[in-house]
């Protein structure tokens, strides 16, 4: 135990050294939900984020959050078991069924807790939380706040944790995790406003950094979604899981790839090809537009490839039959987005859409309690992989994942803190010195490779070779390109400039991680010689349970190479069956 009493979190005599019991990296929903429980339990919590927490990508989640509240029940009744079944089937049986059961059982209380914290959800005529149909779901189970569900949830949690005294370190970019004696004892971070490297000593560190969508050319994700936490984990040889499973949302706005919520189809919008045909009936005769995302994305991609899309590569999402009052009431944000970014009013005109990268099912390998394989390091939300989404996530389950596993992981940490000895400040201090000199070495005036050209080439490679459809030879080509980009990045330098708000330096650090993450996606995808959920291979079009009903594990070795392993899927509740909609 520390002998010297601390009057503040700063360390005496060291302006850039801080200590907290729990450091959470990332200020989105998973991070803030964990912070809420931890600070409520009396834990000293800090949240480090490269942006103000309200700019986290959770704020952009539109359509809703699944929970078997049963508010929309008529003759039949929804249950957490139905929710779990839909989730497992949606995952193409790769999700761990014990984790899915836990998430679905806790879903109603997760939603009600946020409502009791003040979140304003949309209501039905009786004043209960309204629920809408979503893809792959047997009941109208998706609770929503118009089409701004993530915004309402994130603002609520930000208000709550601010009031409870969580310490925020805004605009700090974490550059490394610090390990000592086989545990994670904190991290180092670049303070973007002044360019200095700060050190954080923590008994527990929680990664809650979100997804890595920006490694793709077309993505619905915020510009900040560069997968930073996954890179941090790789660098300390913490395994990543199921990295090949990347979700493409069927309906991103043509041109900017801004998300058009699945809620639009939930409310009755239909998909039309260039001949005006409602083509989903040919792919999923039962569920049509409300088939899961992987199914709908493949259908759109097929229509476009076979010449039934519009020039440029898109189809139409037609909301015109919904009528202006319903659109204004339940999809006002969508109307604003299509007006602002495409000059199209969905009340009168169909909206051009195409599949765009949307979600990372894979992530840092954690157990059902949120622990990684490195003591002291935890992960939750999109950057983690429990796995509850398996090979394909259902719409409405990502917000749920952040709240349920944010809370569960906080509980785990609160318990673990009782018997974690604090790490040594000297180790953090040394790490700060090392990082300061490493980062100084990234700057130079000699002309080198352009980091933005490398990033753009990476995005194109990922889109061309690891998109909705994949095949062996093209993925092999893609991997070679990724490795070449990794080499080129070693020749790149950040131009020497002022230390304050040095964007090229932040981008350099992000791109370094992006290339690393891309390599793990590529290697996992090449090794999985089957089609399952979002991983659709033209050369192996069928699911192969005999050889591939397992999670992929990717670990970075000391020399930087990536090793692949497998780990079993927890089955038990639902038998593995063929998946049809």
């Amino acid at each position: 135990m520390a002998v010297q009493p601390e009057t503040s979190h700063s360390v005496a005599g060291s302006p850039d050294m801080y200590r907290h019991e729990l450091v959470i990296i990332g200020g989105g929903l998973a991070g803030l939900r964990a912070a809420y429980d931890a600070v409520s339990a009396g834990t000293d919590v800090a949240v480090i984020s490269k942006v103000h927490p309200l700019r986290s990508h959770s704020v952009a989640a539109q359509g809703g959050i699944n929970a078997a509240l049963g508010n929309a029940d008529t003759t039949t009744h929804d249950s957490w078991e139905s929710h779990a079944f839909d989730t497992v089937k949606g995952s193409d049986y790769l999700a761990d069924q014990d984790a899915v059961a836990r998430m679905c059982r806790e879903a109603p209380s997760a939603v009600i807790e946020l409502e009791h914290m003040g979140t304003v959800f949309s209501r039905d005529e009786t004043g209960r939380i309204a629920q809408r149909p979503f893809g792959g779901a047997g009941y109208p189970r998706t609770c929503y706040a118009a089409d701004r569900t993530g915004h309402n949830l994130l603002h609520t949690l930000y208000q709550q944790v601010s009031a409870k005294g969580v310490r925020f370190y805004e605009e700090y970019f974490v550059t490394s995790l610090v390990t000592s004696g086989g545990s994670c004892t904190g991290c180092t971070a670049l303070c973007i406003p002044d360019g200095r490297i700060a050190g954080f000593l923590a008994k527990a560190t929680l990664l809650a950094t979100g997804g890595f969508g920006r490694i793709y050319e077309r993505s619905t994700n915020a510009l900040i979604n560069t997968g930073d936490g996954l890179h941090l984990a790789l660098e300390v040889s913490v395994p990543l899981k199921d990295m090949e499973f990347v979700q493409f949302h069927p309906t991103s706005l043509y041109g900017t790839n801004i998300l058009i919520t699945e809620g639009a189809r939930g409310e009755g919008a239909v998909l039309l090809n260039k001949d005006g045909e409602r083509f989903m009936k040919n792919y999923a005769p039962g569920a049509v537009e409300l088939a899961p995302r992987d199914v709908v994305a493949r259908a759109i991609e097929t229509e476009i490839r076979e010449g039934r899309g519009s020039p440029g590569g898109y189809v139409h999402l037609d909301l015109t039959s919904l009528g202006e009052p319903l659109i204004n009431d339940r999809l006002p944000g969508i109307r604003q987005i299509t007006l602002d970014f495409a000059g199209i009013d969905p009340v009168t005109s169909p909206v051009p859409v195409q599949p765009g990268q949307h979600y990372s099912m894979g992530g840092v390998d954690v157990d059902i309690s949120g622990r990684t394989r490195l003591p002291g390091l935890y992960a939750a939300g999109e950057c983690a992989c429990v796995s509850v989404h398996g090979a394909n996530r259902l719409g409405g389950n990502s917000l749920l994942d952040t709240l349920v596993f944010g809370k569960i992981t906080a509980g785990t940490i609160i318990g673990d803190l009782q018997h974690i000895e604090p790490g040594k400040l000297s180790v953090i201090r040394n790490a700060v010195l090392k990082e300061t000199s490493r980062i100084k070495g990234l700057s130079g005036n000699e002309p080198g490779e352009d980091i933005y050209q490398i990033r753009d080439a990476l995005k194109k490679t990922m889109m061309d070779n690891f998109g909705v459809y994949r095949d062996g030879p093209s993925m092999e080509t893609g991997l070679i390109e990724i490795l070449a980009l990794k080499d080129r990045l070693r020749q790149a330098r950040v131009p020497r400039m002022q230390a304050e708000f040095n964007l090229p330096l932040v981008h350099f650090l992000e791109i370094t991680g992006m290339v690393n993450i891309a390599e793990t996606v590529a290697r996992c995808a090449i090794a999985r010689k089957e089609s399952r959920g979002s991983h659709a291979r033209r050369d192996f079009p069928v699911r192969d349970d005999e050889h591939f009903l397992h999670h992929s594990i990717a670990v970075q070795a000391g020399d930087g190479s990536i090793n692949l392993l497998a780990s079993p899927v927890n089955l038990g509740m639902f038998p593995v069956k063929e998946r049809a909609y």
Partner: protein, 261 residues
């Protein structure tokens, strides 16, 4: 097209403007133009951004003398801009640089907050004001077993204010914020009003009292710049007007205060 951009970094004797030329592409936003400039012409240009879809609020700045989100603002409309929002004047709207409106887009940091670098301002004062109004739900207890029952029309009224993304555009547009260092500003007051009208609150209808002072609701001069610049259609000036009339009624019938307690 040309962009005349405000530049400042610590140690500079004062700000200056740089002019950059960017090839316009269809659908280009001011954020996309800034990104192109930063990546291809001047890596040292600093600005904030995140969602690029007008939902996160990171990129509010002064564009052609109107506070707005860079990611939501299409560049094609900005040369000889005709439909520019009309604002009540305040010092930051004065033109201090030879700006040729026929050929250039003018990009400057959000007013009323200290500039840290180029287009990046220190939002601390803005968020400190927000926290002074105690922006937290105070639940009526005991909690119901499930969710509170709330009528749809009450939700509609709440959404008018919960849609705020806290970008600060209103703060940078408010003439009162330009000269009154104690005024919390439109976003903070709209947030307070959001809690005031929440039927689930412990003391519904009383939270308005928290800003019943000369620097609170009563400092507003109803220029309504806030409502005109809000990228999310929030109407702080309406909230302030309603709060003031409710306070007047309360003071006319002081018994009501104790009655609701």
């Amino acid at each position: 097209m040309k962009f005349r951009i405000f530049r400042y970094k610590q140690g500079d004797p004062g700000p200056h403007y740089d002019i950059f030329e960017v090839g316009e592409v269809p659908g280009m936003t001011v954020l996309a133009a800034l990104t192109t400039i930063q990546e291809q012409q001047d890596p040292g240009l600093s600005f904030r951004s995140s969602c690029r879809g007008a939902v996160c609020g990171a990129c509010a700045m002064l564009i052609n003398k109107v506070p707005r989100l860079a990611c939501r603002t299409q560049v094609r409309d900005l040369i000889n801009e005709k439909d520019r929002v009309h604002l009540s004047p305040y010092p930051a709207l004065e033109i201090t640089t030879p700006w040729d409106q026929a050929t250039e887009v003018l990009v400057e940091p959000l007013p009323h907050l200290p500039v840290l670098k180029d287009l990046v301002v220190d939002m601390k004062a803005f968020f400190d004001f927000l926290h002074t109004i105690d922006p937290v739900f105070h639940p009526g207890k005991p909690f119901p077993d499930k969710e509170y029952v709330v009528a749809q029309d009450a939700v509609k009224r709440l959404e008018q204010y919960t849609n705020c993304v806290l970008c600060g555009a209103c703060f940078g547009a408010c003439p009162v914020n330009s000269r009154n260092p104690d005024y919390p500003g439109p976003a903070a007051l709209a947030t307070l009003y959001r809690f005031h009208i929440d039927p689930r609150e412990r003391d519904p209808g009383l939270r308005v009292l928290a800003a019943d002072s000369g620097s609170g609701w009563w400092a507003c001069e109803f220029h309504t710049n806030c409502t005109r610049v809000c990228p999310k259609g929030v109407t702080p000036s309406v909230a302030i007007g309603r709060a003031r009339s409710e306070l007047k009624k309360m003071k006319e019938k002081p018994g009501r205060l104790t009655q609701d307690n």
